[in-house]
C-alpha cells in the first residue's frame, strides 16, 4: 500500500462518487438510488481512509498515532450509514406496501 500513490485512491473514489451521482440522477428505482447513495458514501469513506493513511505515513516519526482519527471516523460513518440504511430500507418497504411500486417519481404527492 505504501507504494501505491494516493492519486489512485482519489481517482477511484471520484469514479465511484460520479457513478453514484449518475445513478441517483438517472434511475427511478428507489432501491437502486439508495444503493447509489451508499456508493457515494463509501467513495467518501475510501477517500478518508486513503488520506488518513497518507497522513500517517508522513508523520509516523513525529507522532505514532497521526492520522488514526480519520480511520476512526470511517467506522463511525459506517455505523451511522448502517442505521440509515435500516431506516431507508424500512421506508422503501413501506412505500412498496402502500403503492406497489418503488418508483420515486410516483412520490410527488407532497407537492399538492
Amino acid at each position: 500500500m505504501g507504494a501505491m500513490p494516493v492519486n489512485y485512491y482519489i481517482f477511484l473514489s471520484l469514479a465511484l462518487f460520479c457513478i453514484g451521482i449518475v445513478g441517483v440522477l438517472t434511475r427511478r428505482n428507489a432501491i437502486i438510488i439508495f444503493m447509489c447513495i451508499e456508493l457515494m458514501l463509501n467513495a467518501v469513506n475510501l477517500l478518508l481512509v486513503a488520506f488518513s493513511k497518507m497522513h500517517h505515513l508522513k508523520n509516523m516519526a513525529v507522532d505514532a498515532t497521526a492520522g488514526t482519527d480519520g480511520q476512526l471516523f470511517v467506522f463511525f460513518i459506517m455505523v451511522v450509514a448502517a442505521a440509515e440504511v435500516s431506516v431507508g430500507l424500512a421506508i422503501i418497504v413501506m412505500m412498496y406496501r402502500n403503492t406497489h411500486s418503488v418508483d420515486v417519481n410516483f412520490l410527488n404527492r407532497l407537492k399538492h
Binding site: 410527488n108 404527492r109 407537492k111 399538492h112
Partner: protein, 633 residues
Amino acid sequence: MFHIDSMKLLLGFIVLWPLAGFLINGLGRKYRSKKAIASYACSLIFASFVVSVFAFFKVNSNGGEVIHYFDFIRVGSLHIPFEFQVDQLTCIFLLIITGVGLLIHVYSAAYMKEESQEHYGRYFSFLNLFIFFMLILVLGANYVIMFIGWEGVGLCSYLLIGYWFKNNEYNKAANKAFIMNRIGDLAFLIALFWLVNKLGTVSFSEVFQAQNLQRLSSGDITIITLLLFVGAAGKSAQIPLYTWLPDAMAGPTPVSALIHAATMVTAGIYMVARSNALYSLSSLSMNVVAITGLATAILAATIALKQNDIKKVLAYSTVSQLGYMFLALGVGAYSAGVFHVMTHAFFKALLFLAAGSVIHAMGGEQDIRNMGGLSKKIRITFITFLVGCIAISGIPPFSGFFSKDAILLAAFEHNKILYAVALFGALLTAYYMFRLFFLTFSGSFRGKPEQEQHLHESPPRMTVPLIILAILSLVGGFVGIPAVLMNGGDRLSAFLSPVIPIQTGETVSHSTELALMGISTLAVIITIVIAWLNFRHYRMKEEKGFGKILENKWYVDELYEQVIVRPIAWMGNFFSSIFERSVVDGMVNGVGRAVQYGSRQLRLLQSGQVGSYVLLMVVSILVIFIIQFFLRK
C-alpha cells in the same frame, strides 16, 4: 408660616391652584352641579390671585429671585432646569392674569349659565387650564419653560375658540388660530435652538449676562431676535399673522376678553420685553418690531372703522393696540409697552365683557347695525362701556391716556414720522371706538321688536366685574403717571427698572411733552365729536368704494386664501391624488407584484420529482466548486 422657602411655596400655589381647578372641573364635569363648578373655578383663581398679591409685595420689598424646582432636561452639556423666575415684570403679569382672570371667571359663571352642565364644566376647566399655562409662561425662568406655557395657552385658545364645536365655522376658526400660531411657534423654536447652539443655555439670567451677550455675534442676535419676534407676531397677532385673532371671536365672549384681549395675546409683548437685553443690541430688529407694530396698528384700525360685528371691531382694536405695544417695544420704551399691556388688559377686558353684556341683552345679536338706543335699557353696561371707550381713546385722566401717551412720547423721541403715524392711528382708534359706541347705544333701536322686548340689564355677577374693570380703567393709569404731571411720577418704569433698564438718552423738554399731550388730547376730542356727528343717528347703507375695501378687511384673508392656502391645498391635492397614487402606491404595489410574479415562476421548480431536486443540488454544488476553485481569486 412660610418660613422654609416661602417664595418657592407661593409660586407653587399660584400655579397649582388653577391646575387643580382644571382637574376637578374637567374630570368631574358630569357629576357636579353648575354652581359647584363655577364656585370651584372662581375660588381657585381667587386663591391664586391672593397668592400673587403676596408674591407682589414680597418682590416689591426683596426684589426678584429665581427658584429651582427640579431638573427638566439634562443631556450632555445642555442643562435646562425647571425654574420659576419672579421679578417685577412677572409680578405685573401675574396680577393681570389672575386679577382680570378672576373677574372674567366670575362673569363667565353668569354668562355661560345656559350651557348644559357637562359643557359648563368643560368651559371652566379649559379656562382654568389656560390660567395655569399663562402663569407658567410668565413665571418660567428660561425660554423652554416659557415655551411650555406658550404652547399650552395656544392649546387652550384653540379649545376655547372651538368651544361650540358643533358649528363647523367655529372649528375652522379654531384651526386657523392654531395653525397660524404654529408658524410663529416654529420661529420661536428655531430661535431657541439657535440660543442653545451658540450659548448652551436658555435661562434668562444666563443669556442676558453681559459676557454671554458678548459671545453672540451681531448677526446671531439679529437672527435670534427676529425669530423671537416672528413667534411674538404669531401669538400677538401682528402682520402678517394677525388674521386669526378676529376669527377667534368665534369663542364665547369672556374667552375673547380673557385670552384674545387681556392676557394670551400679550404674551408676545411679555416675551420681547423679557428679552429686552437681546433686542437692545440689534437696531435692525428694533426697527422691524417698531415698523411692524405701527403698520399693524394702522391697518387694523382702518379695518375696525367699517366692521359691523361688535366683537370684530373690538378684535381689530385689540390687534391695533397690540401694534402700539410693539411700537413701544421697538422704540425701546419697554416699560411703556408693559404699561399699555396693563391698561389695555383693563379697558379691553372691560369692553369685551360689556360687549358680552350687550350681546346677552340682545339675545345673541352681534351686528351693531341692528342695535342702537341701548343706553336707556342697559344703564350699567352703557356707562362701563363708555368708560372703556374713553380709556382706549386716550382722554385724561383715564388709564389709556397715560399708557398711550407714554408710547407716543417714546415714538416722538425716536422718530417724528413714527410719532405722526402713531398719532393718526390713535385718532382712528377714537373714531372707530366711538362709532361702535354711538351705533350701539345712541339713536333709536334698529333691531326686531321681539329683541326690544327682550332687552334687559345683565345679572350682578356680570355687572360687578364690569364696574370693577371700569374703576380699574379709570384709575389704572395712575401707576404710570409721567413725571411731568406729578412729582415722583413714572413709578411703573422705576418699579420695572431691575428688569428693564431705564433709557437714559436725550429726552424732550417738559414743555414739549405737555404740548404733545395737549395736541393728542385735543385731536382725540375733535375726532370723538366728528364720530358723534356722523353716527348719532345711524342709517343703514351699503358701503362702496374705499369703505367696501375696509369692510372686507383689505381682502387680506382672500389674498392669503389665493397666495398661500390655495397653492398648499393644490399641492396637497396633487400629492394625495397623483403622487401618492402613482409614485408611492406604484412603488409599494410594484414590489408586491414583482414578488408574486417571481414566486409564481419559482414555484414551477418544485415539481416533486426527486430526480430534479438532486440534479439541481449537484449542479449547484458544481457551480459552487467552480466558483471556489477558479473564479475566486
